[in-house]
C-alpha cells in the first residue's frame, strides 16, 4: 500500500458532505498532508475522520496580528493529515471536536486559555492550563498580552475554587491529592471519588508546572529553541530536542548528515532504555517488591554514567542540536557501548525472568489498571500505553524516519492492557533497543555531525515527529524570515495518556493508584508546557 492511499476516500467523503477543501497540499508541511477547510466544517470533518478510524494526534493554534488559524493532526496508516481552518482574527472561535475525539477536551481548553479562541458546541467550559497567574480575560499567546504578564497579586493565589465534577451518593467520599505529592515526583492534583477502597472516578487537575514555554519560545534562534525543547520534560530531553530540530530542519529544507541521524537514534534509544529500566523497577517497588527496584536503579545509574562519559551528560541534554548532533562516538566509544549492551543484556535476562514469573507480582500486576483497546484507540494513546492495549502504532515502524528507515527496529504490541502488559512492552522494548543499537553502531556513516541550517528567507513552517520512550512526540515550528521562532508547539504523548489514566484506575482500589500511575508515567512538565 502506498502512502496516503486512503486520502482520496476521505476527500470524496468531504465532497459528499459539501465540505470545501480550500487548499490541499503535501508540500506545505511535509511529511504531513495539509487540508484547509472552513471553520464551520470543523466538527463534521472530524466526525468523518473518527468514523474512518483515524487517530487524532493533537490540536494547536497559530496566531499573529493578522490571522488566527487552528491546526488539528490526524494519523492513519502511519500518514499524517493536518486539518487547518482560518478563524476570524478579531473574534476567533472554533467548534469542539471532543464529542468525536474525547482526548481533544483539554487541548481545546488549553487553546482557549492561551489564545482566547472561543469554543462552541459540546465543550467543557472550565479553564485548564490557566490557574490564577493571569486574569480570565487575558490570553498569554495573544499579541496584546503584556510582556511581563500580571505579577500581582504576589504571591500568586492557589487555584482553590476549580470546579471538580461532583459525584453524589451516600457513601461516596473524596480524596484530594497534591499538587505536592508524597514522593520525589512532579506536582499535579488528583481528585478521587471513592466508595470504600474502590475508585469510582479520578479527575486530574494539571497545569501546576506551566512555565509559559510557548510564549518564551518566541524570538529564540534555532539553537535556543532546541535547548528549550530539551527541557520540556527532562526525562525525554533527547526525543523532544530531536522533534524540534526535525521541525526546524524541515522548515528550512536542511538535511542533517547521516551519521548525525544515526547518533540521534542511538541517543534516543539510550533514553528509552534508561527510562524503561527506572519505571520497571519503580512499578515493582509500588507493589512492595523491592528487589527489582534496587537492581533496575543500579543498572540505570550505570547506564547514565556511561552516557555521561560518552556524551558529556547523564541525561544527554543538548546533544541533539539543529542540523545534527553536538557529540560524536569514536572507536573506543563503540567498544564501550558494545560491552555495555552485552553486560546489561546478561543482567536483564535474569532480572526480567524473575519479573515475568513471580507469583506476587502476577497477583498485583495482572488485570490491574486495564485500559481497553477501544479506549486506547479513542484517546489516541501511543507508546507503551497504546502498545499494551492493542494499538500497534509506533512511528519508527509505521512511517520510519531517519535513521529507522535504513535501520528497521522491531516493535511490539500486546492486548491485555493491564499494568503487566505495560511492563512487558517496556521489557521487550529494552531488548529491541539494545539489538538495534548493536546493529547500528556497526554501520555508522562517516559524513559529519552537523549541517548548518539554511536561511529561511521567508516565513516558514515545519513539523517534527519522533517516537520517544513515552510514545509519539509532535513538534510544530513557525519561523519568521530572519529565522527566529514565531510559534512553537510541542505535543507530548502525555496529553493522551493523562485521560487514559483516568479510565485505567476506574474500579481499581485506591492503594493500586500508584502502580497504575507509574505504569503509565505521563509527564507533567511536558503536558503543562
Amino acid at each position: 500500500m502506498n502512502r496516503f492511499d486512503w486520502l482520496s476516500e476521505y476527500l470524496a467523503q468531504l465532497q459528499d458532505e459539501l465540505i470545501v477543501v480550500r487548499r490541499g497540499s503535501a508540500r506545505y508541511l511535509p511529511p504531513a498532508h495539509m487540508l484547509e477547510i472552513d471553520a464551520e466544517d470543523w466538527t463534521r470533518a472530524h466526525e468523518l475522520a473518527a468514523a474512518n478510524g483515524y487517530r487524532w494526534a493533537g490540536l494547536w493554534a497559530d496566531r499573529d496580528d493578522e490571522s488566527a488559524r487552528v491546526l488539528s493532526l490526524l494519523e492513519n496508516a502511519g500518514d499524517y493529515l493536518v486539518l487547518l481552518a482560518e478563524l476570524d482574527a478579531g473574534n476567533p472561535a472554533i467548534a469542539s471536536i471532543s464529542a468525536h475525539y474525547p482526548a481533544a477536551d483539554r487541548p481545546q481548553r488549553h487553546l482557549r486559555d492561551q489564545h482566547g479562541i472561543a469554543l462552541s458546541g459540546e465543550a467543557d467550559s472550565r479553564r485548564w492550563v490557566r490557574h490564577r497567574a493571569w486574569p480570565a480575560d487575558q490570553h498569554p499567546l495573544t499579541p496584546d498580552f503584556p510582556a511581563g504578564g500580571f505579577p500581582e497579586p504576589s504571591p500568586t493565589p492557589a487555584d482553590s475554587d476549580y470546579p471538580f465534577q461532583p459525584i453524589a451518593g451516600n457513601a461516596v467520599y473524596q480524596i484530594p491529592v497534591g499538587p505536592v505529592h508524597a514522593g520525589i515526583i512532579e506536582p499535579g492534583h488528583f481528585r478521587f471519588h471513592a466508595v470504600g477502597e474502590e475508585i469510582l472516578k479520578l479527575e486530574q487537575r494539571l497545569g501546576y508546572v506551566h512555565k509559559g514555554v510557548e510564549k518564551i519560545a518566541v524570538g529564540r534562534d534555532a539553537v535556543g529553541l532546541a535547548r528549550l525543547a530539551g527541557r520540556l520534560s527532562g526525562d525525554t530531553t533527547v526525543a523532544h530536542a530531536w522533534a524540534a530540530c526535525q521541525a526546524l530542519e524541515r522548515a528550512t529544507g536542511t538535511r542533517p548528515p547521516r551519521r548525525a541521524q544515526q547518533l540521534r537514534g542511538l541517543l534516543c534509544e539510550r533514553e528509552r532504555v534508561a527510562n524503561h529500566l527506572g519505571d520497571i523497577g519503580a512499578i515493582c517497588n509500588d507493589v512492595g517488591f523491592a528487589f527489582p527496584q534496587y537492581q533496575c536503579s543500579r543498572l540505570r545509574e550505570l547506564w547514565q554514567r556511561h552516557s555521561d562519559k560518552l556524551f558529556g551528560h547523564r541525561l544527554m541534554m543538548d546533544c541533539v542540536v539543529p542540523g545534527g548532533v553536538a557529540v560524536d562516538l569514536d572507536d573506543t566509544g563503540i567498544t564501550t557501548l558494545r560491552h555495555d549492551h552485552a553486560c546489561i543484556r546478561d543482567e536483564i535476562d535474569i532480572l526480567f525472568d524473575v519479573i515475568e514469573d513471580h507469583p506476587s507480582l502476577e497477583d498485583r500486576l495482572l488485570t490491574t489498571g486495564r485500559l481497553s483497546a477501544a479506549s486506547a484507540r479513542e484517546l489516541g494513546c501511543t507508546g507503551h500505553v497504546g502498545k499494551a492495549s492493542g494499538q500497534a502504532f509506533d512511528l519508527r515502524a509505521a512511517n520510519p524516519y531517519a535513521p529507522y528507515a535504513s535501520h528497521p527496529i522491531t516493535t511490539r504490541v500486546l492486548d491485555d492492557g493491564d499494568v503487566m502488559a505495560r511492563v512487558q512492552i517496556r521489557m521487550r522494548e529494552i531488548h529491541d533497543s539494545l539489538d538495534w543499537m548493536d546493529a547500528l553502531i556497526d554501520h555508522l556513516a562517516g559524513d559529519g555531525l552537523r549541517a548548518s541550517l539554511n536561511e529561511p528567507g521567508e516565513a516558514r513552517i515545519g513539523i517534527g515527529f519522533v517516537e520517544g520512550w513515552r510514545g509519539e512526540i509532535v513538534s510544530y515550528v513557525r519561523l519568521d524570515a530572519a529565522g527566529r521562532v514565531a510559534r512553537f508547539f510541542a505535543r507530548d504523548p502525555s496529553w493522551h495518556h493523562w485521560p487514559a489514566l483516568e479510565r485505567i484506575v476506574m474500579n481499581n482500589i485506591v492503594p493500586d493508584f500508584p502502580v497504575c500511575n507509574k505504569s503509565v508515567n505521563a509527564s507533567y512538565s511536558g503536558h503543562d508546557l
Binding site: 492557589a158 501546576y208 527541557r231 527532562g234 526525562d235 534496587y294 536503579s297 550505570l302 509527564s523
Partner: protein, 174 residues
Amino acid sequence: MFRILKKSLRTGVVTESPPDTADAELEAVGTELKRLIDRRFAGSLAIREVDAGSCNGCELEIHALNNPLYDVERFGVHFVASPRHADALLVTGPVSRHMETALLRTWAATPEPRFLIAAGDCAVNGGEFGENHACRGAVSRVLPVDVAIPGCPPRPIELLRGILAALNAPQTTK
C-alpha cells in the same frame, strides 16, 4: 526465590566503592556529611523535595541519590513525604506561578529550625525559563535560600556536595 537470592548474591553490595575517583569523592563527601548529620541532627537529616516547576530532570538526579550506588540513607539523609517531618526543603524549578502558593505553604509547614536548598539552574537563577508571566524565576525571589546547587541538572554527587555545604553554612533559624 532461589533466582532472586542468586541474583542478589551475585550482584553483591554494589555500594562499596570501587577505587575510582568519582566514588572516592562520594565516600569523602558522604563521610563528612554523616559526621555533620550525626552531630547536628542526631544521625538523621530529613529532606522534603518540592518540584516548583522543574522539567523533571532534577527529580531524576535526586532520585538517583537513593539508588544503591549512592545510597544516601547510609549517610543519614532521607527523603520524607511530609514537610512536617522535614529539616530542610530541596526545591527545584523556576517557581512556576501556579506552584507558588503550594511552595510557600510547604515551607510554612516545615518546622523550625529549617533550611532551604535550591537545586538546579532553574531554582538558582531561573535557568532556561527565567522570569516570565508564568514563572517567578529563582527560588530566592520567593523564599530565603541557604544554599544553591547549580547544574542542569546537578549530578547526584553535586547534590550531595550542596547538602553538605548547607550543613556547613552558618545556622539559620527562620
